[in-house]
């Protein structure tokens, strides 16, 4: 006899109640980060000694501003997902909750600070 309700069986999300969402988002963000981090690495390798004026001029190009924005968003989403799993593996009790809250807040703050800086340089 199964103790699962018909609704939970139909949803098929398991005991964590979120299904494979975390796993899937980790894969999706990694796929997005593949071209974006390669773009950043190649950009830095091509212009390693950037002074302030040329760095700002580069960031003001639409491609750099948009790619950097996408990179900041997907990068900190990926960081949040990855570090969350590591915290859940090695940290327990109240410290675990505190670490997860700190991680989530830090990642969200980093995304907004990064996007604000990109936009400020761009306009």
């Amino acid at each position: 006899m199964s103790l699962r309700t018909p609704l939970s069986a139909a949803k098929g999300l398991g005991s964590a109640r979120e299904g494979a969402h975390h796993w899937w988002m980790q894969r999706l963000t990694s796929l997005a980060l593949l071209p974006l981090t390669l773009w950043l690495a190649i950009s830095i390798v091509m212009f390693p000694e950037m002074d302030y004026a040329s760095a700002v001029a580069w960031m003001q190009t639409p491609v750099a501003a948009i790619a950097m924005s996408l990179l900041v968003i997907s990068l900190f989403y990926h960081v949040q997902l990855g570090l969350q799993v590591i915290i859940e593996d090695y940290v327990g009790g109240a410290l675990k909750i505190a670490s997860l809250i700190a991680l989530n807040f830090t990642c969200i703050v980093m995304v907004f600070v990064g996007l604000y800086s990109i936009i400020k340089v761009s306009f």
Partner: protein, 130 residues
Amino acid sequence: MSVSQRPLSPHLQVYSWHLTMALSILHRMTGVFLSFGAVALVIVLVSMASGADAYSCIHDALTHPIGLLFLFAWTFALYFHMANGVRHLVWDAGLGLGKKVASSSGWYVLAFAVLATAASWLSMVMGVLV
């Protein structure tokens, strides 16, 4: 909590090291290390938004020998985590899970990380010198 006297399951120390398990923990370690690199990237962006003085301050810190050491380590960590991440995506597709092929793909990942790091830094050093 009472301490259980039951035998524990064998942990890492009883196994001999294999490439696959070394790369598995290296993937985690580079992931944590790269998270700090992500914060460093935001610091660079903030310095660009704050003006020439702030930017040159961050620029000096990153071109200091210790800063360069971090940049070099982040380069290797990035290329390794990237290639090993692709290896994981291939595994997720159900491919390359055999004992032999999982080992050889590990060597390819390591070779890519070393070669890409060397190529990036050689090209930068040559570019700055020329």
